[in-house]
């Protein structure tokens, strides 16, 4: 964890001037991003962010070490998401298997794996691809979406994500891998025509 964050938590616990504003300004958007990814609905995500911060301030005395902030805060956020959970307009809970993501074969029997990672940055960074990415993440079953949001989007470690969700680190690794495979598959469907059209 960055030294600035550790200091911010110490300042917050000590009541240092400005610490409250800095903490809210930094973490409200992050918690919103996480809960929006889980809930898919702005009002719900704002409610979750408010409830998370409220609970965090009420339970500030339970944060024993500043280094534990991510685990502590996102566990509160996860619980707030679960309480807020509506019947999802996105994918229902279902299992993802490794087998479903194994590459297919082309007409000659060779694995069909267009390498779109080499496409120009302006293609990979454009808003349309951003929208495809959001859709792919939203289509993930909730438990895989949570692993991906915590690990890849919020940058928590495997150990931190496992502590937030309440599962083993091996389970986090499995869920993250399958989430990435599923997102990759959707992006590949969208990008493979561009790979075919790209100059050799």
């Amino acid at each position: 964890m960055e030294p600035e964050i550790i200091q911010l938590v110490k300042d917050l616990q000590a009541g240092a001037p400005g610490a409250f504003e800095r903490f809210v300004d930094l973490y409200r958007p992050r918690i919103f991003s996480f809960s929006y990814g889980m809930c898919g609905h702005r009002e719900d995500a704002e409610d979750v962010a408010q409830e998370t911060l409220l609970q965090a301030f009420r339970k500030l005395h339970t944060l024993r070490a500043p280094e534990a902030l991510n685990t502590w805060l996102f566990r509160i956020a996860r619980n707030a998401c679960l309480l807020k959970h509506r019947k999802s307009k996105f994918a229902p809970e279902r299992e993802l298997s490794l087998e479903q993501f194994l590459p297919g074969r082309d007409a000659d029997g060779a694995p069909d794996i267009p390498d779109w990672s080499r496409l120009p940055e302006q293609v990979l960074l454009n808003e349309e691809l951003g929208e495809q990415l959001r859709r792919a993440i939203a289509n993930l079953p909730p438990k895989y979406r949570m692993a991906l949001l915590l690990r890849d989007v919020q940058g928590l470690s495997t150990a931190e994500a496992a502590a937030v969700i309440g599962i083993s680190q091996e389970a986090v690794k499995t869920q993250l891998h399958r989430a990435r495979l599923a997102v990759r598959a959707e992006l590949t469907e969208y990008l493979k025509l561009r790979v075919a059209a790209a100059p050799a």
């Binding site: 409250f20 702005r42 995500a45 267009p114 495979l181």
Partner: protein, 106 residues
């Protein structure tokens, strides 16, 4: 890793290594499994292409932004948060004061 596991890795094919790719990207694979995977990649361009796109997928996810941003925090809600924070500080200071009171005086 034990000898039996090492023999298993040496005989791994694309499908078996497929399960390990995220751990490899994240630097969470033990050294011997890493070495076997890299040996396989040296000779398997489809696996290299798959790894490249999986790594890029993780990179794109790190840049994820929700399609909507939160509205600015309303004054009423900010006051609610501040009140909770100040109550927590008072409780903490009260607890520290009572611990000082309990210390034996000499």
């Amino acid at each position: 890793m034990g000898k039996r596991k090492r023999q298993s890795l040496q005989h791994m094919d694309c499908k078996e290594l497929f399960a390990l790719l995220s751990q490899y990207i994240d630097g969470e694979l033990p050294a011997d499994a890493c070495a076997e995977l890299e040996k396989h990649l040296g000779d398997c361009s489809p696996c290299v292409a798959f790894l490249n796109t999986l790594r890029k997928t993780a990179e794109l996810c790190r840049r994820y932004q929700p399609s909507e941003l939160p509205r600015p925090l309303e004054a009423r809600l900010r006051r609610e948060l501040r009140a909770a924070y100040q109550a927590a500080l008072r409780k903490r200071r009260g607890g520290q004061a009572s611990r000082k009171d309990r210390r034996p005086s000499h």
